[in-house]
C-alpha cells in the first residue's frame, strides 16, 4: 500500500453501526428525562413562607415586625418642602392603605421589605420614600439597626376592590427573598365586611402634616 493511500485511510469516517444510533437515542432519552425531573427556577428560588394571622408581632430571619393597625384613605395632605413650600395633596388612582408598625433588626443592620399580596395574586410593593415624603415615618428603605427598633408606617397604593383578602408580606432586604430565606405572610383578616368598613371609614383627605 502506498503512503498517500494509508493517509486517506487514517482520515476516513468511522463505520456506521446501529449500536451508535442506539447509544445516541439512549443519551437523548436520558437528557429529556433529567430535564423533566429538574426543579423549576421558581421551586429552587422559593422563599420559606411563615404564615401569621391578624395584628401583632411576627418574626422572620433577622427581623421582627409588630403591626399595630392599618387604615385606608383616598388622599394625603402633606407639608411642602424647600423646593415647593406649599402644602399639597398626594392622590392615588386607587386607595392608600397605611400599615402602622414597629420594626426590629435582630443580628445585622439593613432593611425590612413589605408588600401586599391580593387574593388574585397581584403584588403591591410598599410605596417609595418620596411617596409620601414623610421622613421618620415612611418605613420603606429605612435602615434598621439591631437594638434600635424603628416605628412608622408602610404605604400601599391598591385598587379599592382588591383590599378584601389581602395579605401583608415581610422579608429581609430590598429585593425579594432568595430561596430558603423567610417570607412572613400575614393574613390581615380583611373579609368582605371589613373591606366595606375600611372603605367607609377612608377619609377623602387624611392630614399627615406634622
Amino acid at each position: 500500500m502506498s503512503a498517500p493511500a494509508a493517509a486517506r485511510t487514517a482520515w476516513r469516517l468511522p463505520r456506521w453501526r446501529w449500536r451508535d444510533a442506539l447509544w445516541i437515542l439512549l443519551a437523548l432519552i436520558a437528557v429529556v428525562a433529567l430535564r423533566k425531573g429538574e426543579s423549576s427556577y421558581e421551586q429552587r428560588d422559593t422563599p420559606l413562607v411563615q404564615h401569621a394571622q391578624g395584628l401583632g408581632r411576627v418574626e422572620g430571619r433577622n427581623f421582627a415586625v409588630d403591626v399595630t393597625g392599618f387604615k385606608a384613605a383616598h388622599a394625603y395632605l402633606l407639608k411642602g418642602d424647600y423646593s415647593h413650600p406649599e402644602d399639597y395633596l398626594l392622590r392615588t388612582p386607587g386607595v392608600w392603605l397605611s400599615v402602622v408598625a414597629k420594626v426590629e433588626a435582630r443580628d445585622q443592620s439593613g432593611y425590612v421589605g413589605a408588600q401586599l399580596l391580593t387574593r388574585d395574586g397581584l403584588t403591591y410593593v410598599a410605596s417609595s420614600q418620596d411617596r409620601p415624603k414623610l421622613k421618620g415615618i415612611n418605613l420603606r428603605e429605612r435602615v434598621v439597626v439591631p437594638g434600635l427598633p424603628e416605628s412608622g408606617a408602610w404605604f400601599f397604593e391598591v385598587p379599592a376592590d382588591r383590599l378584601q383578602g389581602a395579605h401583608l408580606q415581610f422579608y429581609w432586604g430590598n429585593g425579594l427573598p432568595r430561596g430558603g430565606d423567610s417570607l412572613v405572610d400575614v393574613d390581615l383578616g380583611i373579609d368582605a365586611a371589613r373591606a366595606r368598613k375600611l372603605m367607609a371609614e377612608a377619609k377623602p383627605v387624611l392630614d399627615l402634616r406634622p
Binding site: 486517506r8 469516517l13 468511522p14 456506521w16 423549576s40 427556577y41 421558581e42 428560588d45 399639597y88 395633596l89 398626594l90 392622590r91 392615588t92 388612582p93 386607587g94 408588600q115 395574586g121 397581584l122 403584588t123 403591591y124 410593593v125 410605596s127 417609595s128 418620596d130 411617596r131 397604593e157 391598591v158 385598587p159 382588591r162
Partner: protein
C-alpha cells in the same frame, strides 16, 4: 485530487448518505415553509392620540404631546434655557407585580427620530403632582409625562411619531431558567400632534 472510485466510495458511505438526507430534508422543509420567499415586512399598526394599546406588560394610552421651555410643573431656567418635548400617557401595569416607571415604560415607549431611531425619554413624571414617577402598581391606571430634553438646534414640527415595543412573559428567559418580561419587536406607532407652548412662561 479525488478520483471517481473515491467519490463512489464516499457516496456509498452511510454517514455521508445520512448527512445528505438531513440536508435534503432541511432544504425541502425550508422551501415548503416559505423560507426562500422574499421576506415580508408587516407595517406597524398606526394609532392616534387616545387609543389604548396593550402590549403584554404595559397598556398605554398616549393622550397629548407638547413642546415647552420648562418641564411639567416647572419654570423656565433663565441661566440654562432648554426646550422639552413632553408626551402625556395613561399607563397601566399589566404584570402581577409593581415595577419602576424607569424600567419598562421608559424602555418600551419611545420617540422615533427623523432617522427612524428610537430615543428613550430622559425623565418620567407623574402628571398630577409633577413628582418623579416611582413605582407603577398592577391594574392602577396612572397618568405619566415622559420628558425628552431637546437639542439646541431643535426645529419645531407640528407632528411627532412615538413607538411602542411589545413585552411578553417568557418562562425561561435566562440560563438559570428564571422567567422575565422580555422586550419584543416594535408593536405600534402613534402619530401625535405636538402643541408649541414655547411662548408660555407657566407650565401646563
Amino acid at each position: 485530487m479525488a478520483n471517481k472510485d473515491e467519490l463512489v466510495q464516499t457516496a456509498r458511505n452511510p454517514w455521508w448518505q445520512g448527512a445528505a438526507a438531513v440536508a435534503l430534508v432541511a432544504v425541502v422543509a425550508t422551501a415548503a415553509l416559505g423560507g426562500f420567499g422574499q421576506a415580508k415586512s408587516k407595517p406597524l399598526p398606526e394609532y392616534k392620540a387616545g387609543h389604548r394599546y396593550q402590549g403584554g406588560a404595559l397598556a398605554v394610552t398616549p393622550l397629548r404631546a407638547w413642546v415647552a421651555r420648562y418641564k411639567p410643573g416647572g419654570r423656565i431656567d433663565a441661566f440654562n434655557p432648554k426646550s422639552y418635548l413632553v408626551l402625556q400617557v395613561e399607563v397601566e401595569n399589566r404584570t402581577p407585580r409593581s415595577f419602576s416607571a424607569f424600567g419598562y415604560p421608559q424602555q418600551d415607549l419611545i420617540l422615533v427620530s427623523s432617522k427612524r431611531e428610537p430615543i428613550q425619554s430622559d425623565l418620567l413624571m407623574r402628571s398630577d403632582d409633577h413628582s418623579v414617577a416611582g413605582d407603577l402598581h398592577p391594574r392602577l391606571k396612572q397618568r405619566i409625562d415622559l420628558v425628552w430634553t431637546l437639542p439646541k438646534n431643535y426645529v419645531y414640527t407640528p407632528q411627532a411619531t412615538f413607538g411602542v415595543f411589545a413585552r411578553a412573559y417568557k418562562a425561561k428567559a435566562y440560563l438559570n431558567d428564571e422567567g422575565a418580561w422580555v422586550q419584543g419587536k416594535p408593536a405600534a406607532k402613534y402619530t401625535m400632534a405636538v402643541q408649541d407652548l414655547r411662548d408660555r412662561a407657566v407650565a401646563p
